[in-house]
């Protein structure tokens, strides 16, 4: 499970990029499968060619599902039901397949017998997302790999709020008659910082989270009211010359036909944010440039800001679930991440240093971290991934 936290962070980034119209959902599907050790992932959304699974390339299995079996899929049916009856309760949640559909019911279904058992869909985890109708993420495996467990559920749960925001974003941006106000609302609602800048880094839009980040006294990025006249606009700038230069390079790429890229921005207090720069999707660009965007359409870059080492330690129970820590191990882990030394932890918990040392060995073993530093990094990233719901 060593690289999972990094993979998760990257996957969240990929999800927003896909939602914003850049990046690809197939990439998201691939990442989800890798993280969860799954074979297939499913997210059916409408598009130009009608509804289809965005997460997998079209193959025989997908064709069969889209052509017939989607209507027989008991998990999809259960999702529709849950969504219709108690959407608020289910949104963002993830569950093992066996909790969604009784095992024997599933094994006796036509869906299983004629389709799922031949197509790596023996074991399932379902995560709930949807706007006006249920569009769950279903992750599956064949029998050979064995059943999913709570660790996997936890992982999908981490991703689901981001998936939900991303499909909201996708829906907003995809509609041509969309008003700016609606796009704005969608971008404001994102749990990541989002900004749209022109090729000169003049800010055309910025959501509340990004605004708050930029206003932080230690932030590595800041916004700058520019002259020469009042009203000449507000620009995005970086505190460090080097980071400002990298940022300009990425924005130049994203606004001139390139793909942009990713960078890290370090705050004065050591906090690190991941900044992704991508070409702004057409719909978004049109929205922010307003009515006059007729003649020469200006290119914009979409910026997505995520804290990477927000100083929020993961909760102990989350660690128990993710790594199979004992309660005591999880508490030691949290204390260590808070900066305590082994000696301090022993004193605070009134146990011997020997005990703490053996707990640390176990923690490192279970989390597959090489050393405490490595483990701290893992924890930092996990902390950042706890969805920031307001």
């Amino acid at each position: 499970m060593k690289d999972t936290e990094r993979d998760l962070a990257d996957c969240v980034g990929a999800i927003y990029q896909a939602g914003a119209g850049d990046g690809s959902w197939l990439d998201v599907g691939e990442r989800i499968c890798r993280i969860m050790d799954a074979r297939r992932a499913l997210l059916v959304l409408g598009g130009p060619g009608g509804p289809r699974n965005l997460l997998m390339p079209a193959d025989g299995s997908e064709t069969a599902y889209a052509g017939y079996f989607h209507a027989r899929d008991p998990y999809a049916a259960k999702a529709r039901y849950d969504f219709a009856t108690a959407r608020a309760h289910h949104l963002g949640n993830a569950k093992l397949g066996t909790e969604l559909v009784a095992e024997n019911e599933f094994l006796n279904s036509e869906f299983y017998y004629d389709f799922a058992r031949h197509h790596e869909r023996r074991h399932v985890i379902g995560g709930m997302a949807g706007l006006t109708e249920a569009t769950p993420i279903l992750v599956s495996r064949g029998d050979d790999t064995g059943a999913f467990d709570e660790t996997h559920v936890r992982l999908l749960k981490t991703l689901m709020p981001h998936v939900q925001r991303a499909i909201e974003l996708r829906a907003r941006l995809g509609r041509n008659d969309e008003t700016f106000a609606l796009t704005r609302a969608a971008l404001e609602a994102l749990p990541v910082g989002v900004g749209v800048v022109d090729a000169g880094l003049k800010i055309r839009f910025i959501n509340d989270l990004a605004r708050r980040y930029l206003a932080g006294p230690d932030a590595g990025l800041f916004s700058l009211r520019s002259g020469p006249c009042v009203g000449s606009g507000v620009y995005l700038a970086a505190m460090s010359r080097e980071e400002a230069s990298v940022l300009r390079r990425l924005v130049a790429s994203a606004t001139s036909g390139g793909t942009g890229g990713a960078m890290r921005v370090t705050s004065r207090n050591g906090a690190v944010v991941g900044l992704m720069v991508a070409p702004a999707p057409q719909g978004l660009a049109a929205d922010v440039s307003g009515m006059d965007g007729g003649a020469a359409r200006e290119a914009f870059a979409l910026l997505i800001l995520r804290p990477l080492n927000r100083k929020v330690a993961p909760q102990a129970d989350m660690l128990c679930e993710m790594f199979g820590f004992s309660r005591a191990e999880a508490e030691v882990a949290v204390a260590l991440t808070g900066g305590a030394s082994a000696e301090e932890v022993a004193r605070r918990r009134s146990v011997s240093l020997m005990t703490v040392r053996s707990q640390i060995r176990s923690i490192l073993g279970k989390s597959e971290a090489e050393n405490l530093r490595d483990f701290e990094r893992t924890m930092a990233t996990l902390g950042a991934l706890v969805p920031q719901l307001r």
């Binding site: 090729a199 000169g200 002259g227 020469p228 009042v230 620009y235 700038a237 010359r241 230069s245 130049a252």
Partner: protein, 492 residues
């Protein structure tokens, strides 16, 4: 209407209120120089002298022929009129027009059969420079300077390049002159080509030429480019020339006075010093200058000699040479991919500052990311040509108008970090006349140069400081409202 000679130019200036007839006899010995100096410093009309207390009549002198005017909005009216541009053109607009002409094909001169300067011709023993009204311009000058604004024609021995330039020339005696012939100037190069063959260089000195000619004579064009063809391109007509009588050259046909002869690079006499464009009268002794032997003097009836009293700004070194250097550098920077909004030598800097302004998006346009690298590049482009005589370059954003001294002083003072981002060039060729050079630097004609970075910190990117001025610091509605209600407030 084209201005084809000095007299047409004087009439045009007279109509614009820029000529002051001076009928009272003035002394060529300092008095005339002092009057011209005072006119240059106060922006008074150009004095047209017709009588001299210490010289016979028959000649006139036009002082401050292209100096600035004190009249509002008309500072560069003489330069603009000389180049047939609208009288209200600013220096920056004039430089822009000249820079643009550099990309036009040359229009070579047209040789005409006769010229008014041949109304009076003296050759051989009749030649006597002392018949001309030659002033002593500054107290401390080492001689009387005949040429301060005339066109020296020089042609390479193979005939492939004909150079027109201005360089000061003083009278030595009735038949000899001397002047500055610097090896880095084209006249020096051409003269050397003749000297290498063991021959003196034929020259023609055309004084009182049509008003556009001194401008091209002061332009730092590359070697082997004929000024006459460039001026044709700028004025969109061939410049008329006429064959000289005693040397194998053609000179501008519009000349009031035409002096012909041979420049002997190997023959030396005392030259200077002379009060010069940096604004000082040198205190060092005269240096060796080469000798111009005069073989013919021709002139119109009642010929007019233009005279520049060099010194503190603004005189023609600043308005003419400065504008032409600005134009050349503007062109060169743009050709090198630097999107200069303008390049301008503020006249008050006496040719020691050149301001380059840039749009906020210069990074995207140049591909250069750091302000220091940009300054380095600007210096490399500038200092590699003969336009690079200006030793200090100020790089600013183009919200600043370098022709507005108040704005420029404020911006240079407040935007220039004493330590960060400048490009320093430690050993570059330089005009020995630059004011502050040390003795060894004057001798070597080399010194240090600098490009001052006055751009915002690199991390700001394209953001600029917000100016707390009436014009910039308030929303347009408020500015309009205040202007509208100004008299309502009780102001007049």
């Amino acid at each position: 209407m084209p201005l084809l000679d000095l007299r047409q130019y004087i009439e045009a200036l007279r109509n614009l209120g820029e000529i002051q007839e001076v009928a009272a006899p003035v002394s060529l010995d300092l008095e005339l120089g002092a009057i011209i100096r005072h006119c240059s410093e106060t922006g008074s009309p150009a004095p047209l002298f017709s009588a001299f207390a210490d010289h016979p009549s028959g000649f006139r002198i036009l002082g401050a022929p292209a100096a600035t005017s004190a009249r509002r909005g008309l500072a560069m009216v003489r330069a603009a009129t000389s180049l047939e541009l609208p009288p209200t053109s600013s220096g920056i607009e004039i430089a822009e027009a000249i820079a643009a002409s550099l990309d036009l094909p040359a229009i070579n001169p047209q040789i005409v059969d006769s010229a008014p300067c041949f109304e009076n011709i003296s050759t051989g023993d009749d030649v006597d420079l002392n018949r001309l009204p030659v002033p002593l311009l500054h107290d401390g000058d080492g001689g009387r300077y005949l040429n301060t604004f005339g066109c020296i024609v020089a042609r390479t021995p193979d005939g492939s390049w004909t150079n027109w330039s201005i360089a000061r020339i003083m009278v030595v005696d009735g038949k000899r002159m001397t002047g500055l012939v610097s090896p880095q100037q084209h006249i020096g190069m051409v003269a050397k080509a003749w000297a290498d063959m063991g021959k003196p260089m034929p020259f023609a000195l055309a004084l009182g030429v049509e008003p556009s000619i001194p401008f091209i004579c002061a332009m730092p064009l590359p070697a082997k480019v004929d000024e006459s063809g460039r001026l044709g391109a700028l004025m969109r007509r061939p410049i008329r020339t006429v064959r000289c009588r005693t040397v194998g050259l053609e000179a501008p046909a519009s000349a009031e006075i035409l002096i012909e002869g041979y420049l002997h690079l190997d023959e030396k006499t005392k030259e200077g010093p002379m009060g010069e464009y940096p604004g000082y009268i040198p205190t060092e002794p005269a240096r060796d200058g080469p000798v111009y032997h005069v073989s013919a003097i021709s002139h119109r009836h009642d010929a007019i000699l233009p005279v520049v009293a060099a010194g503190e700004p603004a005189e023609e070194n600043h308005t003419v040479w400065g504008t032409m250097i600005s134009a050349q550098i503007l062109h060169d920077l743009r050709a090198a991919g630097i999107p200069a909004t303008t390049a301008w030598i503020p006249q008050q800097s006496a040719m020691h500052w050149l301001v380059v302004t840039l749009p906020r998006d210069w990074r995207r346009r140049t591909g250069i990311d750091a302000a220091q690298a940009l300054c380095q590049r600007i210096g490399e482009v500038m200092f590699s040509t003969k336009a690079g005589v200006v030793p200090k370059v100020i790089v600013l954003n183009d919200d600043i108008n370098p022709d507005d001294l108040k704005e420029l002083v404020w911006a240079f003072a407040t935007r220039c970090h004493p330590l960060l981002g400048h490009a320093v060039f430690r050993d570059e060729p330089e005009d020995p006349l630059v004011a502050y050079l040390r003795t060894n630097e004057k001798t070597a004609a080399r010194t240090g140069k600098v490009v001052y970075n006055c751009l915002p910190p690199d991390e700001w990117g394209e953001a600029l400081p917000v100016r707390a001025s009436f014009r910039h610091g308030y929303p347009a509605e408020i500015v309009d409202r205040v202007k509208r209600r100004w008299s309502e407030y009780g102001f007049r």
